[in-house]
Structure formats: C-alpha cells, structure tokens
Amino acid sequence: MGNIFLIMFAAILTENFIFSRFLGICPFLGVSNKPSTAFGMGMAVTFVMTVSSAATWAVYHLILEPLHLEYLKTIAFILVIATLVQFIEMFLRKYVPALYGALGIYLPLITTNCAVLGSALLNIQKGYGFGESVVFGFSSALGFTMAILVFAGVRQRIEIANPPRAFRGFPILLIAASLAAMAFAGFSGMSFN
C-alpha cells in the first residue's frame, strides 16, 4: 500500500511528466491559453492514460512477453493506444454524450501524445504490476493536469504583460515554463528510499 502512495507522489511531484520528464510539451504549450481548455485537456489525458496503462500492460505481458517480442513494444503500444482512444471516443459519444462534449476535441488530439506512450513504456521499464501501472498512469496524468493548469494561470498574466518585443509570444512562454520546471526541480531533493 505504501508503495502505491510512493508511486503517486513521485509521478505527480518529483517526476512530473512535464517539468522533469519533458513529455507532453506539445499540449502543454498548445492548449494552455485558458484554464478551462487546459482543464479539459488534463481530464482527457487522465482518462486516456489510466485506461491505456491497463491496456498496454495487458498487451505487453499477455502477448508480447510470451512470444519474446518485447523489442516491438513501441509499435504495439502506438497501435493499441490509437485504437483505444478511437474506441473510447465512439463509446462515449453513444453512451455518455455529456462527457464526450466536455472532452470534445481533446480526445482525438491525444491519440499520438508522447505522454500517453511514455507512461506505457515507463510502466514496463519500471517493472510495475497491473495495479501499479494503472496507478502510475493515473497519477502521472494528474501531475500533467496540475502542471498545465498552473501554466494556464501563469499564461493569463503573461498575455497582458509587456515583455520586450523579441520575447513576445512563445519565447516568453518557454522561459516561464523553464522557470516552473526549475521550481519543480526542488521536489527532486526528496527521497523515499
């Protein structure tokens, strides 16, 4: 049980997907212009990452491992995740239209997101069991959501600030993101071993 909490804590803070692993930077910069859209993206990522952690664990341990095809896990995972997202989208559209409307365009956007694939590959690399994999996927996505929400708040202030001309737009965003990442580096001092 304690192990589960360690995994959650590490995934959210010390090994945050965005600020220390630099995964999922594309949606982080792309859809963080408003807190509401950032939250929508975060929820979609959380949903998909949790389900895909479970699915890819099953594919790896039930299909790839027995057949000694571990070296092809990246391709297999891309296939599984893409299918899964499509499937979820169709399912939600039919049975949970409210959630479908809320996740909207964000679901198809994360079909090929590196954070989702990253969590699947990290699960294997760390040798997590099924439960641990799901928890890792879920809490990594929570970390992602937190990071993108925090940054959306920062961005609201940047937008009305008046930086030097050369820094306007993306340059100042990248600087702000790097400052946030440095702040998060402070968590890496914590050790749980």
Partner: protein, 276 residues
C-alpha cells in the same frame, strides 16, 4: 521462422484492432443530422465566436435546432444566411452587413489624462482603476483589449484610440463584448457618418477635459432633416434606420466630432472629421 511469428502476431493484432473499431463503429453509431453538416458547410469556419456560440460547429447545431436564427453568422453576411436559409427551408430577407465602430475621437493630444497608467496592457485592468486613465468616463482607454480579441486583426491603436479597419471588419461583435467601456458599436457597414463620442457628461465638463467631446448643443439635431440624429443623455447619436447620409450634421457640429467615411473621386477611401 521468428520473423513469420512476428509478422503474424502484428497482423493479427492489427486485424483485431481493426475489427474492434469496425464493430464498435456500427455498434455505437450515433445518427448525425445531415442538416447540421450541410449548415456547417455553409458557415465560414473562422470559429470567431461572434455569434455567441463556441465555434461554427456549435453554431450549426444551434441553427438546426432552431435556437439560433439562420442569420446568426454576421461574418458570413447575406450570402451565408441565404445558403443556410436554403438548407433550412426558410426565406431570408435582406441581411445588412455590419461593422464595428469605436465611438471615441479622444486621441492622446485631444483628451486629458486623469493619471499615468503603467500597469498591464489590458483595458479591463485599467478600467478597474478609476475607470481608466482618461478623465472622460466614456473615453477609449487605448490599451488594445479589443484589438487583442479581434479574430480578423481589424483593430489597431492609433494615437491612444482604437481604430477599426472598415475593410477587414466582419461585424462579428467580439470587440463589442470585450470593451470594458462599452464604446464600440455595430453600425451598418455602408453608413458614412457616425458620432465619435459617447461621453454622457454635461457639456461644460466635457469641454474641460476633451477637445473632441460632444457638448450636447443639439446643432446636429436641428440640422438633420430626416430626424435621424438626436441628443439624449448629453450625447448625440444617429438612428441608422433614418439616416440618409446627407452629411448636414457634419457641417454643423462645432466640435467636429461627426466623422465621415467615403470614397473620393480618385477611388481613395478617406475617413475624416471636420477640423477647426
């Protein structure tokens, strides 16, 4: 042999996924109203949000349901309204193209300042501090919040006042919603005259802080033969359903704040006001 197994496994996996998606596509099929797609195809696709919906998709759905008028898209204008009307089976009357107009002439030299503002470049923030840095309670703050929100890049700040480019403006009304002073109005696209002031202060006060403010002298009201221009709440305003663009008010205005826009004989588009 190994390669055969690998290929077989991945072919199998791919086929399985394909079948799964194909089956679920049938199983979870949601009938989409064809009309929505047709309406969506008619809309411009700028997703500006001027109609009040989150984008063209949402607008198409609302039009299909009857929640929005077929003329909801101001950007598309008459052409789009007619196309949507054809889809919906509704006759569309005349649709007037509108454009946004900032009703302030108080440039940096003309309008006196209340204080020096050095905060963030956002009109709403400046407006929260004593209603902005101009002494006039209804003057353009000029920090460009409208320009930042304009989906068509039609607004620029000149001499501390927002100016709308007539050619670029699509009349979507996004700027009208974002102006904290409420001094941007939608007027008919081809109207040649407008009153460049919305100050509701008394004439004496306006005179004290702005060279180009309406003092409510009613000279324009008397000059207008069609009864289109009236003074109320200490400021002149034009009723565009009556205005015939004769330009008599322009001549009479002692403050020179009634603007005229039009093409000159050499084809040049000129926007000007009478200067003393």
């Amino acid at each position: 042999m190994e390669i055969v197994i690998t290929i077989a496994v991945f072919l199998g996996l791919g086929a399985l996924m394909g079948v799964l998606l194909a089956v679920s596509a049938k199983l979870f099929h949601v009938p989409v109203n064809e009309k929505v797609n047709e309406i969506r195809a008619c809309l411009p696709g700028a997703n500006c949000g001027g109609c009040g919906y989150s984008g063209c998709d949402a607008a198409a759905e609302a039009i299909e349901k009857g929640e929005a008028e077929v003329t909801a898209c101001t950007v598309g204008g008459a052409e789009v309204a007619r196309a949507i009307g054809a889809v919906m089976g509704v006759e569309v009357g005349e649709v007037k193209r509108m454009r946004a107009q900032v009703m302030c002439s108080g440039t940096l030299e003309a309008a006196a300042k209340k204080y020096i503002y050095e905060g963030a470049a956002d009109c709403a923030q400046a407006a929260a501090i004593g209603g902005g840095n101009k002494l006039c309670p209804d003057g353009c703050i000029g920090l460009g919040t409208c320009a930042a929100h304009c989906p068509f890049g039609a607004i620029s700040i000149r001499d501390g006042v927002a100016v709308v480019d007539h050619e670029k403006c699509m009349g979507c009304g996004v700027c009208v919603a974002h102006c904290p002073k409420g001094i941007i109005k939608l007027i008919p696209f081809d109207s040649a005259h407008w009153v460049g002031c919305m100050s509701r202060d008394k004439g004496k006060d306006v005179r004290a802080y702005c060279e180009v403010g309406c003092i409510a002298c009613k000279m324009c009201e008397r000059a207008c033969e069609s009864g289109a221009i009236t003074v109320g709440d200490n400021v002149a305003s034009i009723d565009y359903s009556k205005c015939v663009d004769c330009g008599k008010c322009v001549e009479k205005c002692p403050r020179g704040i009634i603007w005229s826009a039009g093409r000159q004989s050499n084809g040049e588009f000129v926007i000007a006001r009478k200067t003393k």
